[in-house]
Symmetry: C2
Subunit: 225 residues, 2 copies
DNA sequence: GTCTATATCACGATAGAC
DNA sequence: GTCTATCGTGATATAGAC
């Protein structure tokens, strides 16, 4: 039962609660985690959690916000540097993967968050914590959307649907690193192993640059890199 | 057996339980659904469920098996017909999307299944129901793997990693149709709307054929279609 | 096959001592 | 800020009548 949670004991009680809750919510989802378990893992009594967070939903939403903020900062910085659209795309992919790898709970938590709406108590989407997360999410999506739009406008990208391309990018990054044991068996090694991460980076970028179907090399660019 | 006159709810109690459980598990996950709720939705007392299934885990695993079987049949038939690798790839993508669209619970249930391992009681992976699902899953993955391997071998596909390409395909199809309200807001219409489904088909195939980055047309094939 | 009733346990949340 | 004790509810599962 007692899983080994590699969470540091430093920081305020509030931060330690957030750290523990982030890993537990990522692994078992909102309904699968109890306040009692979070408290026990932090080393507090269950009631102490209610001193720091007004309820389970608020705790969950603050965990989610923190993850979204971290992604947003990384992506914004990566896309801010100058370069052509293809270069900025590659840097954005790297930033996304860096974030998902450096904070291993993020991918699962974010993917789970797509479904958790129906598990949260009714009215949770009107809490201040939820709306803060919505704003961060819209900034993330806005950054990617603008990158794609500019690339299409300049002719550097095909005339793709920005929305569908965002979905494809999320699927290629967040889904992959959230796929856990399934992905591990498929790939043949833990998804966070350096080699597996490097492979994923290369495969995603190659897919975005060339697709899957081969074609004759064009101006010395179509073959292997 | 007599002729089936009723159109809905005409199956056995067992089938009706599976239908209801499939939708509920897809929407709220294993931990988020109670046997009481399933029973109430079917129109039975809670205890009656335990007459048809020995427990909650067994019910969940049988629901999952049924979904995997349906996908397997569709994909196997689609890939069996002759054609070049690119044609078979497109048919496979269509079969996957057809399945996810015709059975709207499938995408969420399958994506959730990647995480539910940690929510099931310990030892669930040794139940007969689990191992049946494992076999079906391996058949599905084997079919896709073989398609990619043949395409690479014949030179029709780039020399991609089959495992990573499978992850990309799952991300582009199952993730997309499981993304629910998030996807709906991003795309701008319900993901199952005919137009949105057609768009997804086209975008996924175009991404697999051409990637995102544009290049000069090659032998009348590289531009817009 | 379906039901009522019950056993046992965990859940989120609160009250109040310290 | 953390604790113990408790409330009310709902969870899975079982026993046994019909």
């Amino acid at each position: 039962m007692g899983a080994n949670l590699a969470v540091q004991d430093s920081g305020s009680s509030r931060d330690r609660i957030l750290d523990v809750a982030e890993e537990l919510f990522a692994r078992r989802g909102y309904s699968g985690v109890g306040m009692r378990e979070v408290a026990a893992e932090v080393g507090l009594g269950k009631s102490s959690l209610f001193h720091h967070f007004s309820g389970k939903v608020e705790l969950y939403l603050e965990v989610l916000n923190r993850v979204l903020e971290r992604i947003h900062v990384r992506l914004r910085d990566a896309l801010a540097a100058p370069g052509c659209s293809a270069e900025r795309l590659d840097r954005g992919i790297d930033a996304l993967i860096d974030g998902l790898v450096d904070e291993p709970s993020s991918a699962r938590l974010l993917l789970r968050a797509l479904f958790e709406d129906e598990n949260l108590p009714p009215g949770s989407d009107q809490l201040a914590e939820h709306q803060a997360g919505e704003r961060t999410l819209q900034q993330i999506l806005g950054d990617i959307h603008e990158l794609i739009r500019e690339g299409v406008k300049s002719g550097e990208f095909r005339s793709v649907s920005a929305a569908h391309t965002i979905q494809t990018i999320i699927g290629a990054t967040a889904y992959h690193f959230a796929s856990g044991e399934f992905g591990r068996e498929l790939i043949g090694s833990p998804l966070l192993d350096p080699d597996a991460v490097a492979s994923r980076r290369a495969e995603v970028k190659a897919m975005l640059h060339h697709g899957l179907v081969a074609r004759e090399p064009v101006s010395g660019e179509g073959g292997k890199e």
